[in-house]
Amino acid sequence: MTTADTPVQPDLGGEPAPIPTVQVEDVLEHDRSWTGRARRLLLERLPADKLLPNEQPSYVASWIYVFGMGAIASLVFVIASGLVLALNGPAWYHLSALGHFINSTHLWSVELFFLFMVIHLWGKFWMAAWRGNRVLTWISGVVSFAVSIVAAFTGYLVQTNFDGQWIAFEAKDALNATGIGAWFNVADFGQMFMWHITLLPIAVGAIVALHVVLVRMHGVVPPLESAETDAQLLPELLVEATTNGDSR
């Protein structure tokens, strides 16, 4: 409805000029910026059904695949209890009953973390889980193992008791022999404390995140005895595969 207040557009006649259509995909396809390249790489390597799959092949239904997640769960508890210890401080965890308890759960979750990690490592070793371009997954596992050991080591150094002092003075000669002792000084409590409560937890967390993303990128490795498919493991899948030519 037109009223006196609303100006009327003059009708100049003819068809309206076509609006040039630019496909968003075309622009992204040729976007040479870092963002554009990163976007293409991520979408290609890690599409949603790889990043967050809601199904796994039937061979994953085995307890041996649970230990990686067990290690993650323990790591979450290690970091959470470590945060509580850090926020409340040594006077709390050395002198109060609750402080002692949380301190102990911190140690016990570390024990579980290593226990799960080692069983996970055995499992992956006997499955030769580095097959099919998964070598970086394996290597990130090795690195996470190594960095976790250093994190645990610095934890033992900062107990502020004779045990911690003993460990530091047993370790110093080995570290000095490699030359690293000049910079990573196990007798320097402040330095070891900083490594233990900031740098190493961040490092372990980052490596584990990378490890899990790599697992997701490649999918779970098929068992040694199956070629490309896991159809032979489930009779109903085999029937499906042979009747409709699905090679899954």
Partner: protein
């Protein structure tokens, strides 16, 4: 010695040149047992399974 002291030496077992603390031995045995159980125990079939 206080129960909470981490500085206690612990119990060691030794056979010739080989020695191990009982606590460490237990952890290793537990890992071996869990590994074997993980291989033989059936995995519960999920409700969402097809």
């Amino acid at each position: 010695m206080s129960v909470l002291s981490a500085a206690s030496v612990g119990v060691f077992l030794s056979w010739g040149v080989f020695g191990i603390q009982v606590g460490n031995l237990i952890v290793i045995l537990v890992m071996l047992v869990l590994f074997l159980l993980a291989l033989v125990l059936p995995f519960p079939r999920g409700r969402r399974g097809r």
